[in-house]
Amino acid sequence: MAALSHHHLSSTAPFAFQQAPPQNHSGEPTQHAFYPYTDNGGSTLGISGKTFTVIAGDTRSTSGYNINTRYAPKLYPIGGQGPTHKGSKIVLSVVGFAADGRALQERLDTVVKMYRYQHGCEISVKACAQRLSHILYNKRFFPYYVQAILGGIDEETGEGALYSYDPVGSYEREYCRAAGAAASLIMPFLDNQVNLKNQYEPAAVSGFDKKQLVPQPLERPQVEELVRDAFTSAVERHIEVGDGLQMMFITKEGIEEVYFPLKKD
């Protein structure tokens, strides 16, 4: 009787984690760890023009030396109608930790759609850019591990608008920006070809009267060629970049998507 009641009333279970052997077979204490981040590689870039903005990204997704898939888009249309984002004129690109990138896209998309329900008009890129900064900073101490680039059309001037971000929401409007694994390869090339850095008027290339070439907004065919050159170069020298190049051209008419195969090795 005593033994029976002991079983019924005892608060200790017949088994417990405390009884588990504290050591594994090699004699080392068992340790558990959870890594909340992974780097999925890849690269993105954005260039803004007179009447358009282009956002581009490769479609390879990696974990270490493994390729997860050869087609994982890093470019997301934001807002518009329904799950197809019909009529959207803003594109978000995210590179770094793909899961965080996806979560960020979901958050921003919801916010932009809620904006239209509440205000009855589309959000401006300027406001969307500011909002994205706040979303990122809200997770200041457990950040979205991504480098984001946001592209659209400036409401006031009709020109292309491009914003780039660090993982905690520090942002800046720029004419061009490369992000991700091959950013260090692509960015100096863009400095040279888009912002014409280190290029001078041929009449006087040295001395006090030398003049820096003034960057002009580029036309779409030139921009498309530059983007392709930048990515084929990056593919050549970076193992995490390749498979496919996805480009989104944002104009006042909407978003036009272009896909271009890259080397798969």
Partner: protein
């Protein structure tokens, strides 16, 4: 940051053209983020048409460049002729491998034209002498990522000397402008069969 290869900073690049080669380096010498000198060339000449670029630990850059001056002088005395770039590359390789387990912390680049055939030649090495032969370009130093990007984007085959000069200069200047440890001006050598042109580029002074 405390890697011996990135304490002093610096960048070097070599390119092949049509019957010519080019080699260029930046001029910065620093101690981590502190710039100590803006006149520290990293290219050394060992025969009329054989050049060596050295980036990495500055003390080793100086020591190794002097070591090769000694070795090439001994070669010239024994052989009574100038050393060919290909031969020099083998000398660099074997000299570095001699220090297999206590290496010189340098990333050398060789560029030159064969005195007899006039064939252009460039190659690079790791710090223990493994040779990287290339038909297009070789990069080294703390701005190597940036240089890979600019070179891959700007270089094309069979460039004439003037175009090769423009290409290598733009590749180097734009690359070092995105690297905090390199820059402060550049030296560019354009090497043809019987002419060497050295140019000094100002570049950004920050």
């Amino acid at each position: 940051m405390s890697s011996p290869f990135s304490i002093n900073g610096g960048a070097c690049v070599a390119m092949r053209g049509k019957n010519c080669v080019a080699i260029a380096c930046d001029l910065r010498l620093g101690l981590q983020s502190l710039t100590v000198s803006n006149n520290f060339p990293k290219i050394f000449q060992y025969s009329p048409t054989a050049f060596l670029g050295l980036t990495g630990l500055a003390t080793d850059v100086s020591t190794v460049s002097e070591l090769f001056r000694y070795k090439v002088n001994m070669y010239r005395l024994r052989e009574e002729r100038d050393i060919a770039p290909k031969t020099f590359a083998q000398l660099v390789s074997s000299s570095l491998y001699e220090r297999r387990f206590g290496p010189w912390f340098v990333s050398p680049v060789v560029a030159g034209i064969d005195g007899k055939s006039g064939a252009p030649f460039i190659c690079g090495f790791d710090s223990i002498g493994c040779i990287d032969y290339a038909a297009d370009f070789i990069v080294s130093g703390t701005a190597s990522d940036q240089l890979f990007g600019t070179c891959e984007g700007l270089w094309e085959p069979d460039l004439e000397p003037d175009d090769l000069f423009e290409t290598i200069s733009q590749a180097l200047l734009n690359a070092v402008d995105r690297d905090a440890l390199s820059g402060w001006g550049a030296h560019v050598y354009i090497i043809e069969k019987d002419k060497v042109t050295k140019r000094l580029l100002k570049g950004r002074q920050d």
